[in-house]
Assembly symmetry: C2
Homo-oligomer: 152 residues x 2
């Protein structure tokens, strides 16, 4: 599995792309850089990423944003999260040792993160035994948070 961190260089990205017959474009570099600069626990929707690009004076179309998010998810560079916001969110797919998982309140959508190295190990083992090459392992818990429980 391709493990990433904030040091993931342009050269490695170029190599990963070229291996698959894909091209190293300034749009792709820029989008990856934004995710690398994002603090942990922050995950963005396509729309939010596009707004940030506009803010940074980058003229990257929304279509390219969507295309790039898909491509990077399929390469294992990003992870796609479906929490409770009604649209997908993306974040850098870090190495399994620093991976985290999510706990979502179905009432207020409040989301917490937690780490559980064991889960990633179990997931990896299962996938291996079934012959899959793992790109991402997500444990998502849906429930009712303390606040919403007390409010009935």
């Amino acid at each position: 599995m391709l493990t990433l961190n904030a040091m993931y260089s342009d050269d490695i990205l170029r190599q990963q792309l070229n291996e698959r017959g894909l091209r190293f474009t300034p749009q792709r570099v820029k989008i990856l850089k934004i995710f690398q600069a994002l603090p942990r626990g922050i995950h963005w929707s396509a729309e939010e990423l596009h707004e940030e690009l506009v803010e940074q004076q980058e003229r990257i179309s929304l279509s390219t944003v969507y295309r790039t998010l898909h491509m990077m998810t399929n390469m294992g560079i990003l992870r796609e999260l479906e929490l409770a916001e009604g649209h997908k969110h993306y974040e850098l797919n870090r190495s399994s040792v620093e991976q985290h998982h999510h706990l979502v309140c179905v009432h207020c959508n409040h989301t917490l993160e937690f780490a559980e190295a064991v889960v990633d190990k179990i997931g990896g083992k299962q996938a291996d035994s079934l012959g899959y090459h793992v790109l991402d392992c997500q444990l998502t818990l849906y429930g009712v948070c303390p606040d919403c429980r007390s409010q009935g």
Copy 2:
């Protein structure tokens, strides 16, 4: 946690609904029955459920289907799955001892199921320690299946 199986009766559904000020309607009964009759591992989209209802001569609108799916997910009766089909799928939320998880190929969307009781235990523990009332625990692995790997 409310644990369900195919024996979940109308009376229990009525009680669960009334407790929350919700009503026991024939549409809700029918939709739950369909999920209870569904073989394990089969999960349906709102559209598919609606087609089945039409086939069974039930005149339940698509809006009601969507509303019911949400309601039952928030009650913990159904679990909502976001695999790779582009839309959400639903299945009966069975007791944690018979719960399963998913492994999805990001290329061909082929999906496998696997059981891992430990994952549910870990998830439950995490949620408890954070004061959440767990409704559903989903481990989803994204990767590339053996077939797609060999095809490059």
